[in-house]
């Protein structure tokens, strides 16, 4: 499949511009297409942090995690799958119900008013404190 985001890739190569910060709904998620990956992007107002993980739910095998409810389980910031309700850490991608399952995370940064995502599993900040 053609990489529709090629045009949006900035000069640093690694970072992909996805949307303006104000396009992120507060305490909720959106899905961004980055290269061939679907990325769930969440904006948590309480700690003013943007998190990015895979949108693909390995349990239901559907691209739905951006539509899950976010919150915390004993302090760990998580998204709950909207299909079968497993929780995934937004910082590490670890599934809380099944130690053998982890989803990928993505580095996030904000440049000006734009949200940018790094490559899948790339080393770097998994989230961005504004």
């Amino acid at each position: 499949m053609k990489n529709v985001n090629a045009a949006k890739q900035n000069r640093e190569g690694q970072w992909v511009d996805v949307c303006a910060v104000e396009e992120l709904p507060p305490n909720s998620g959106v899905c961004a297409l980055v290269a061939d990956s679907q990325v769930a992007v969440f904006y948590l107002t309480k700690d003013k942090t943007i998190y990015a993980v895979d949108n693909y739910d390995p349990f239901s095998k559907a691209n739905v995690l951006s539509r899950g409810i976010i919150g915390d389980v004993k302090g760990e910031v998580v998204v709950a799958s909207p299909i079968y309700k497993q929780h995934f850490s937004l910082k590490s991608g670890q599934c809380l119900e099944d130690a053998s399952v982890r989803i990928a995370t993505y580095p996030v940064r904000v440049v000006g008013d734009r949200v940018q995502l790094g490559h899948r599993e790339a080393v770097g900040q998994p989230f961005c404190r504004r």
Binding site: P26, V30, L33, S37, K61, A62, R67, H87
Partner: protein, 845 residues
Amino acid sequence: MTKQTLVVIGNGMVGHHFLETLAGSDVRDRYEIVTFCEEPRLAYDRVHLSAYFSGKTAADLSLVQSGFYEQHGITVHVGDKAVAIDRDRRTVTSEKGIEIGYDRLVLATGSYPFVPPIPGHERKGCLVYRTIEDLEQIVAAAQTATIGAVVGGGLLGLEAAKALKDLGLDTHVVEFAPRLMAVQIDEGGGAMLRHKIEALGVQVHTGKNTTNIGDGDERRHKMQFADGEELETDIILFSAGIRPRDELARAAGLETGPRGGIVIDNQCRTSDDAIHAIGECALWNERIFGLVAPGYQMARTVVERLAGKESQFTGADMSTKLKLMGVDVASIGDAHARTPGARCYTYQNEPRELYKKMVVSADGKQLLGAVLVGDAAEYDTLLQYCLNGIELPIDPDSLILPQRDGSAGFGLGPDALPDSAQICSCYSVSKGRICEAIDAGCSDLFALKAETSASTGCGGCAALLKSVLDSELAKRGLEVNTDICEHFPYTRQDLYHLVRVNDIRSFDELIEQHGRGLGCDICKPAVASILAACWNDYVLNDEHAGLQDTNDHALANMQKNGTYSIVPRVPGGEITPDQMIAMAEVAKKYNLYTKITGAQRIDLFGARLEQLPDIWKELIDAGLESGHAYAKALRTVKSCVGSTWCRYGVDDSVGLAIELENRYKGLRAPHKLKMAVSGCTRECAEAQGKDVGVIATENGWNLYVCGNGGMKPRHADLFATDLDRETLIRYIDRFFMFYIKTADRLQRTSVWMENLEGGLDYLKSVIIDDRLGICAELEQQMAAIIGTYQCEWKTTISDESKRKRFRHFINSDLPDSNIVFVDERGQIRPTREEERKHIRVAVVG
């Protein structure tokens, strides 16, 4: 090992209980089990027989779960009476000619109603009150009658009087003794009971010896009494006590008592070791036990004996508590103070129509008996004092005197009860057994009832059971944590109250003031529902959108592959051809899979997130609106076609269903709500399987509540009868708001009611009698919700920023390429996993 044959004669309450207990025991497999049932139907609940007149059917009263006997390999001969026992050959012969050899025989033949040999007692219209066939005859006779008389003012006689009253007859009770319920209660209690029953419109005649029944001048019969007075009536119901059915045993030469009854020993054995007798046919220690609990005890004794245990039947407590025509009456132990040296305390309150008496031992330390009329709240406590020999407080009368200083009184705490204390007498469940069940993990009433059967018989011990549960949980430091989740130290009910009282309008406000952390997928949807039930804002407002559960989040039902299904509202199931065409056109255009739902609607499957607004634009333009199938809210009001078309319908069920659906549409609740309206008692809309069901009668509407289908189906309970439309709607308004206000999250109305202390009666007192004084408030809150209804999809499509939520990608208009369908039976379906391997999926996470 070859199996022995065990034959049970009689399939009444006790016979069935015996089989049920045997089927659940270790020795079940040792026997080939055969039972004879004289009546045309399997065992049913004779204790609650009068419920037949307030709407219950024979099926509702049945005690035998469908398939129970088949499942346990028990052979039942229904409608076939055992007519002979040959003890030498050890065989039983039935009326239809079946002959079966037995190794063990259990007689559970019950009793028959005693009809005094008054001249004229066999006249047409002279009936008895024991079987469902008797009830059918009473109903038939009542159709052409205006006056009914019951001969016998005992417990059953008053039940029978209630039945006649429910049938709309002018009702008389004729009692030979000088007072009502002479066996169970004393003179003072009997007088109070009479006063209360007469106030309900039943005429009571005590000290009346009927000498003749002949033709009446005005009515069908004339009853003549020894004192020269007369009573004219159309129906005479004899309820003058019971006599054991011992004719089979007698003919077989078993020992019987001089006044009837099959003589048994402590093992419930008759004079023939191979034959047992249990229930009302058995005579133990020269006594017949006319209550169900002792019969059950005998049944258990026999099963335990078969299993080789040292079980004995050593008599039974005959204490009773019941509601007669709405009047609480209770009798404990030695109610007549016949024990030598016994002394009494009596409290009588004429304005409030209360009568309470305690009988104590000569030293004042033990409770021997009690009588309660008008209010039996102290029954549980007094019974425990009496049965367990617990020493009375220094001022014993404090137990029955009203507490005017606001203190809780001297009720016996559950801690004071020994482990042997019997909590449930119907199923003989001790406090020790309940504690075991709690240790095994039962932490609520629902689980406890299922595990121990406690409180599933007459239900009289429900409050006591609850207090034992609470106290035991607290003792284990296990007081069930009722917090909704780790973010709020509150129950759902508490949160509802906080939101209402403090005028809280958002989740952020609530968690900041009353919670901690970020919230989660438990508390967020629960709070979203509470906020909607209180303030009814648009659910996808910025501050609410992130709280919504999977389906509310997209105002559609998410399916396994991440696509959605769409259910437009079809109020009452009434739909125009144009609306059907509009739906069909949308389904065709977007290639959606279509299916008729169980709730008289049409479901369109396979819509992608980004298609939802366009699809809804077209549906709304065609005059359709959101069906809220995605929400914990009112779903649908199912209806039959009703009197408009149906030859049998007695009222317009479709019209009422549409009115109700439009009234409550969009109402957010702790769980989904389903309703139905049937136009006659044939019940084609299955209203008795809904949270709220309405059935048309000749005189208005009957209201049923707290039914559901699903995993644990439950029939709804009759809540009120013959209501006019206005009252009906008022009750439903109150019922829904009270449920929304007090239920736990994801608790259907059925479980909610079963966990309410006092259950259905309590609910009636709140909704009908306004016991809590909140009905006006509930109605007002409902009016506010109805007044602020909006079609959420209409609001969504008319706001560009809201429509944006429905893109799959925030940075691309491409669809999710992981969603792939294949064709099946001419429509789409999601690919299965193995099929997907053969289809190249370009975009994966």
